[in-house]
């Protein structure tokens, strides 16, 4: 069951996947289901940041510094991507109390 994501959630790539860089994109294999996924260049940058546990806000800020995008739209897109990754068991989400 995917957990609710907020900007304070801590997210990290799941241990049940393997991934690699594919010409600037990311190719991911979820090992339990045997399903392959692809992320475009921006998604691949998010994926690179997910290789160690980080707060969603940290990922948001890091990418806002790299890309010229509308901050609010970007946060919505980022949360949407992370929710999809979580639903596919590609990331683990931890919500700390408080």
């Amino acid at each position: 069951m995917p957990k609710t994501l907020t900007e304070r959630s801590i997210v990290v790539a799941a241990s049940s996947q393997v991934s690699c860089d594919l010409n600037g994109e990311a190719a991911i294999l979820e090992l339990n289901k045997g399903v392959y996924y692809g992320l475009d260049a921006v998604g691949a940058r998010v994926w690179a940041l997910l290789q160690r546990p980080r707060r969603v806000s940290e990922i948001r800020d890091a990418l806002l510094a790299e890309y010229e995008v509308d901050a609010r739209q970007w946060e919505t897109d980022l949360l949407s991507l992370l929710e999809r990754l979580s639903a596919e068991d590609l990331i683990e989400v931890r919500n700390e109390p408080g």
Binding site: S19, C20, A27, L29, L31, Y36
Partner: protein, 401 residues
């Protein structure tokens, strides 16, 4: 009036080969990109190029380098074909990387010191990206003393072993002799697993010394997990012996050397040279470096160039291999193979003893052809040369590629 000497057409380097070699790198080089652009202006027989990329297991590297240079100069149908092949290679690589991580964990939890080499570990160590190196099996090296335990573990996991040290009849043969490798297959869990020990790595003139190797082990990140493998210097020695064993018939093996040379950690050349000497394979090691330099323009420091320059045979051997690769030739005939094996060592007596050892040390194939009772075990020493003669003849006729 002038007399122009031309090389025979059979020795001319086809443009497809030059393009393949130009695409055979992972560490970015501006000169490589320029060369690819230039070669794309020439007439490339694309069918031949695609077949060569597949034969040399370079689909992922080729597509990446063409895509980042001038994919618009490649016919659309070919570009699509190369992309599909590269994606298949990457997907297979990811699947096998997942299996590899499972196995590494399994061995570790059972207390088996199985050191991975080649496969995804080499992809990470040399290329910095598992997806750029194609591999078809997973190789681990472990002490001979742990081979039965490791085999039992894999058999419990549903793998079939060949040869099987846990099977009484085969264990009888294995008490006296050592196979080329221990192979494990499970139809539902590809790929094939190959276990090697200091006894099976028979092409190493001096057996692997675990006590010496262990302190030099390096850590590498494979898809975010830290794995211990051989150091850059030890890996170079092992890969040079492996490539020479197979007469460097695949360009991807030369690419592995070229990428290792340029790995960010940096090779300790004095240490590498010393390890190659201790392993009794200095010329084999030098040959791998010459090939990487001449075929793929991998940079070598001055000291290595000096060592190469002081060797009488290594340049000529590299030229022979380069010509054979460029002409798409398969394995050389038996006499050429014997000569190559003898020349691979700096001292003739070392070359002779190596050839004698490999020609007379029975393997699992000899046992499979003729299972002798225990009292007749010494006869396997005669079975092997007889089997090799039957299989290869005197080698006076060149085998089809």
């Amino acid at each position: 009036m002038s007399l122009v000497r031309r090389r025979a057409s059979a020795e001319e380097t086809p443009a497809e080969w030059e393009l393949l070699a130009a695409c055979g790198y992972a560490h970015r080089r501006d000169s490589g990109r320029e060369k690819i652009k230039q070669l794309l202006q020439t007439a490339i027989v694309w069918e031949r190029f695609c077949a060569a990329a597949e034969r040399h297991k370079l689909e992922a590297l080729v597509f990446r380098n063409l895509a980042s240079t001038a994919l618009d100069k490649v016919p659309a149908e070919i570009a699509s074909r190369l992309e599909s092949a590269a994606r298949r290679a990457v997907q297979r690589g990811l699947l096998y990387t997942g299996r590899f991580l499972e196995l590494a964990k399994l061995f570790e939890s059972a207390g088996i010191a199985a050191i991975p080499y080649k496969g995804p570990v080499l992809g990470a160590l040399a290329y910095g990206n598992c997806s750029l190196r194609s591999f078809q099996d997973l190789d681990f090296v472990l002490p001979q003393s742990q081979i039965v335990k490791a085999s039992e573990l894999l058999v419990q996991q549903g793998f079939r072993a060949y040869p099987d040290p846990t099977c009484a009849e085969q264990a009888r043969f294995l008490r006296h002799f050592h196979p080329g490798q221990y192979v494990f297959v499970c139809d539902s869990k590809p790929p094939q697993i190959e276990l090697h020990t200091e006894r099976t790595l028979r092409y190493l003139p001096v057996p692997l010394d675990w006590k010496a190797v262990a302190p030099r082990l390096a850590e590498v990140s494979v898809s975010g997990r830290i794995v211990r493998t051989f150091s850059l210097e030890d890996t170079l020695v092992l890969l040079s012996v492996h490539g020479t064993k197979h007469f460097w018939e695949r360009l991807s093996w030369v690419c592995d050397i070229a990428e290792l040379i340029q790995a960010p950690a940096g090779v300790d050349w004095e240490l590498g040279h010393e390890l190659a000497k201790q392993a009794g394979c200095r010329r084999i090691w030098l040959l791998s470096l010459v090939l990487a330099n001449r075929l793929l323009e991998a940079p070598l420091p001055g000291i290595v160039q000096d060592w190469i320059g002081s060797d009488d045979h290594v340049e000529a051997m590299a030229r022979t291999i380069g010509r054979r690769l460029a002409s798409g030739g398969g394995l050389p005939g038996a006499p050429q193979r014997l000569l190559f094996r003898l020349q691979s060592h700096e001292r003739l007596c070392t070359g002779l003893s190596q050839c004698w050892r490999t020609a007379t040390s029975p393997t699992e194939d000899d046992w499979q052809m003729c299972s002798l009772p225990e009292w007749a075990t010494p006869l396997y020493f005669a079975v092997r040369p007889w089997r090799l003669l039957r299989q290869h003849g005197l080698g006076l006729r060149r085998k089809a590629a």
